[in-house]
C-alpha cells in the first residue's frame, strides 16, 4: 500500500490576468522507504504541487482532486488539522533554508521548539533530541552548534540543519524541493549522500524535486517527469535511464553537461516552456518537439498509457517502435552498449 497517493491533482492560482493552472491532473504514489523524483524545468509546477500536498498554498489557490496520506485525506482538510500533520507526519525542506529557519533565534532554540510542538517531552529531552538530530545529519560538534545563529553557518550546514529539523519528529513523508540547487557540487554531493543514508535508516517516503536528472539518478527509486503542469512520463529510475520514452525526457537527458564530450555541441531543447495561463492545445511539448505530428497539436492531449512490459507510463502519440528506437540514443551508456 502506498503511503502517499495523489489522484488527479489540479492546483489553480487566481491572478490579475486570469487563472493559472499550475498543476493539471497529476497522479502519483510513493511507498514508505522509497524516493520518488519529480523532474522538470523551472515553472512547470513542481513547487505548486509540493505546496499543495503540504497545504501551504496562498489563499489565491484552489486545489481539486485527492491527496491521500495514510489514513488522512488532505484535500479539504481544515487548516488546524493540517498544521498538526505538518512537522509530525509530513515535513518539507526548501531550496532556501532561510525560509524555514528564524534568523534571530539560535539553532538549538529552533530545534527544541520544533520537538516540543509535537511531542510531550521535557526541555532536557528536547535538547537531547536536537543534538541527536544534528549528529544524524553529520554536523560536527553538535552541542556547540546549538548556540549558533543561522547566519553563522555555511549554506551547506544550514541545509543540513533544515533537514535535521524536518526529521526531528520522524515524519512519514518528506518533501524536498530542490534541496541542492543553490549549493556547490561538493556540498550537493554531501547532501545527496545524506539523503541516501536517510532512505535506508528512516522508513519515510521521500519526494525529491529537482531540475537535474543527474540528481535523480543518484538517489531516486522512481521518477516522474513533469512538463507544463502535467506528468509526461513515469518509470522506475533504471527503466527511465535505460529506455527513456518521452521526447521531453530525451531533451533533458541530452542537455546534461557530463554526457557531452569536447568537440560535440551541447544538445539543447529549443525555446522555452509555454505559459500556464494559456497553454497550447494538444501535447504541451509540441511547439518544442522535433518529432511533433499534426495529431500532437490538437486536443485531446495524449493520455498517460502503459509501456509494454516495463511498468512505465508515457503520454506521447509516437508509436512504441519509434519511441524505442529514438529513445535508445539517449539511454545510459551501459544499457545502450
Amino acid at each position: 500500500m502506498a503511503l502517499l497517493t495523489v489522484k488527479n491533482l489540479r492546483t489553480t492560482f487566481r491572478t490579475d490576468d486570469g487563472p493559472v493552472c499550475a498543476v493539471d491532473g497529476v497522479s502519483l504514489s510513493v511507498d514508505a522507504g522509497q524516493v520518488l523524483g519529480i523532474v522538470g524545468e523551472s515553472g512547470c509546477g513542481k513547487s505548486a504541487m509540493s505546496l499543495s500536498i503540504m497545504g501551504l498554498l496562498p489563499t489565491s489557490a484552489t486545489v481539486e482532486g485527492s491527496i491521500q496520506l495514510g489514513e488522512h485525506q488532505l484535500v479539504g482538510m481544515p487548516n488546524s488539522e493540517l498544521r498538526t500533520l505538518r512537522g509530525s507526519e509530513v515535513a518539507m525542506i526548501f531550496q532556501d533554508p532561510m525560509t524555514s529557519l528564524n534568523p534571530v533565534m539560535t539553532i538549538g532554540w529552533q530545534l527544541e521548539e520544533a520537538v516540543r510542538l509535537h511531542q510531550k517531552v521535557s526541555r532536557r529531552e528536547a535538547r537531547a533530541l536536537a543534538v541527536a538530530g544534528l549528529a544524524a545529519v553529520a554536523i560536527p560538534s553538535p552541542e556547540e552548534r546549538l548556540k549558533t545563529y543561522p547566519h553563522e553557518l555555511s549554506g551547506g550546514m544550514r541545509q543540513r540543519v533544515m533537514i535535521a529539523m524536518a526529521l526531528l519528529n520522524r515524519p512519514r513523508l518528506l518533501i524536498a524541493d530542490e534541496p541542492t540547487t543553490a549549493l556547490d557540487v561538493t556540498t550537493q554531493a554531501q547532501i545527496l549522500e545524506l539523503m541516501r543514508d536517510l532512505r535506508s535508516e528512516v522508513d519515510a517516503a521521500i519526494v525529491l524535486i529537482t531540475h537535474d536528472l543527474g540528481v535523480v539518478a543518484e538517489v531516486c527509486d522512481e521518477v516522474a517527469v513533469m512538463y507544463a503542469g502535467r506528468i509526461v512520463e513515469r518509470a522506475s529510475v533504471d527503466e527511465l535511464f535505460a529506455r527513456p520514452q518521452h521526447p521531453y525526457t530525451w531533451g533533458l537527458l541530452a542537455s546534461l553537461p557530463g554526457r557531452n564530450r569536447a568537440g560535440e555541441r551541447l544538445h539543447q531543447i529549443v525555446g522555452s516552456p509555454p505559459s500556464l495561463m494559456n497553454p497550447p492545445a494538444g501535447c504541451r511539448f509540441a511547439p518544442r518537439c522535433a518529432m511533433a505530428m499534426d495529431v500532437c497539436r490538437a486536443d485531446p492531449a495524449p493520455a498517460l498509457t502503459e509501456v509494454a512490459a516495463s511498468g512505465a507510463v508515457v503520454a506521447c502519440h509516437l508509436d512504441a517502435a519509434t519511441r524505442a528506437r529514438e529513445g535508445a540514443r539517449f539511454a545510459s551508456s551501459e544499457d545502450s552498449a
Binding site: S42, V185, Q188, A189, G214, E218, F241, A254, S272
Partner: protein, 327 residues
C-alpha cells in the same frame, strides 16, 4: 598557440579584517586571491573552477579592475594595466567586460532592459542615441532575445532570458575578452545548454576570448580549452581540458570531478565516490602546510607542515601536491 591577450602574474587580492565597533581599524588582511598566475590566449577559453569561497569572483573582479590589486600585475595586449587610471583604464574596460554570477541581482529592477543594455554605450559615449538603440537591438537579436522587448522590465523575463540580457550587455562594447562569473550556475540544466551554446557561437562569430568561472567541472567541460582549479585563493592544478579531466593529479581536482552526479543510476550505485567532508576553510586562518590537507583523502603526515608549490611541466600540466595521484 596564439598570442597571449591577458596575463596575470602573482595576483594577490585581499580584504581588510576589521575590529572595533566605532573606530574600525584594520587588524589583518585576508588573502582571498593569493599569488595567482594565469595566461589567456587569443580566441581561447580558460576555465577557473573551485568551490564557493575559494576566491573565484574576487579573481574575476580583480582581472577586470573592479577590485584593487594588493600585489602582482595584469597585462593586457602587452601593456601593464595594473595601476592604470583615467583614459587607459576606460579603454581597457571597453575591451575586457564581464558577465555576472547572478543575472537577477546584476540588473536594476526599475530600469527597462533596453536601457540596461545601452548603459555601457552611454558610459563610453559611443555613437548617437538613435545609433545606440539600434546597436542594442542588434545585440538582443544576436543573443536570442526579441528586440521588441526593448522596453520591458527584468521581472518579465525568465532566468535564462535575464542571463541573455547580461550577455548582450557584455558584448555591446565589442570587447576582445569576456570574464564570465558562473554564467550558468543559477539556471536549469536545459537552459544551461542553451547558454553554453550561445557563448560558443559568440566566441566563434566575434573572435572573443573567455575566462569562464564555475564551481562545476562538468559545466565548463564543453567550453574550456584549458582549466585552472583553485582552492582557497590558489591554483592547485592547471592544464589542458584533456589533462585535467582525464588525468587529474591533484586530489582536489579528482574530488571535484567525482562530486558531480552521474546521470546513470547503475554507475551511480557502483562507482567509488569521494565525498569531500566539511567546507572550504576560512582564508583568514588558512590551514598550515598544504591548505587542502584537513580535507584531503590521501594526505600524509608531512602535508600539514610542507606547503607544496605549483610545478608546471613542459606540456603545460601543473599541480601543487607532494603526493600526486598516478596519471
Amino acid at each position: 598557440m596564439s598570442e597571449p591577450i591577458l596575463t596575470a602574474t602573482g595576483l594577490t587580492i585581499g580584504f581588510p579584517v576589521k575590529r572595533g565597533i566605532i573606530f574600525q581599524r584594520e587588524v589583518a588582511r585576508v588573502q582571498a586571491v593569493d599569488g595567482v598566475d594565469l595566461t589567456l590566449h587569443q580566441g581561447e577559453t580558460l576555465a577557473i573552477v573551485g568551490e564557493s569561497g575559494c576566491g573565484k569572483t574576487t579573481l574575476a573582479r580583480g582581472l577586470v579592475r573592479l577590485r584593487d590589486i594588493d600585489a602582482g600585475s595584469i597585462t593586457f595586449m602587452g601593456e601593464d594595466i595594473t595601476r592604470q587610471r583615467g583614459r587607459p583604464l576606460s579603454d581597457f574596460r571597453r575591451q575586457v567586460t564581464m558577465i555576472f554570477q547572478d543575472p537577477i541581482a546584476s540588473l536594476d529592477p526599475r530600469m527597462r532592459i533596453g536601457q540596461s543594455m545601452q548603459e555601457p554605450l552611454d558610459i563610453h559615449s559611443i555613437g548617437m542615441p538613435a545609433e545606440r538603440k539600434r546597436k542594442v537591438q542588434e545585440a538582443m537579436e544576436r543573443v536570442g532575445l526579441n528586440p521588441e522587448h526593448y522596453n520591458r522590465f527584468p521581472h518579465e523575463f525568465s532566468g535564462g532570458q535575464r542571463q541573455r540580457i547580461g550577455i548582450a550587455r557584455a558584448i555591446i562594447l565589442e570587447p576582445r575578452v569576456i570574464v564570465c562569473d558562473e554564467p550558468v550556475s543559477a539556471l536549469d540544466v536545459s537552459v544551461q545548454a542553451q547558454i553554453v551554446n550561445l557563448l560558443e557561437d559568440l566566441q566563434r562569430d566575434l573572435g572573443l576570448s573567455y575566462i569562464v568561472i564555475a564551481h562545476d567541472l562538468d559545466v565548463v567541460r564543453r567550453l574550456a580549452d584549458r582549466v585552472q582549479v583553485m582552492y582557497l585563493g590558489r591554483v592547485v592544478e592547471q592544464g589542458e581540458g584533456e589533462q585535467v579531466y582525464n588525468h587529474p593529479r591533484h586530489p582536489y581536482s579528482k574530488a571535484l570531478l567525482s562530486a558531480r552526479p552521474i546521470a546513470d543510476p547503475k554507475l551511480a550505485r557502483s562507482r567509488e565516490r569521494i565525498v569531500l567532508q566539511g567546507d572550504v576553510p576560512s582564508p583568514i586562518k588558512p590551514p598550515s602546510g598544504c591548505r587542502f590537507h584537513p580535507r584531503c583523502p590521501v594526505a600524509q603526515a608531512s602535508c600539514s607542515a610542507h606547503d607544496p608549490r605549483l610545478e608546471v611541466a613542459a606540456d603545460g600540466h601543473g599541480w601543487a601536491c607532494a603526493y600526486p595521484l598516478a596519471p
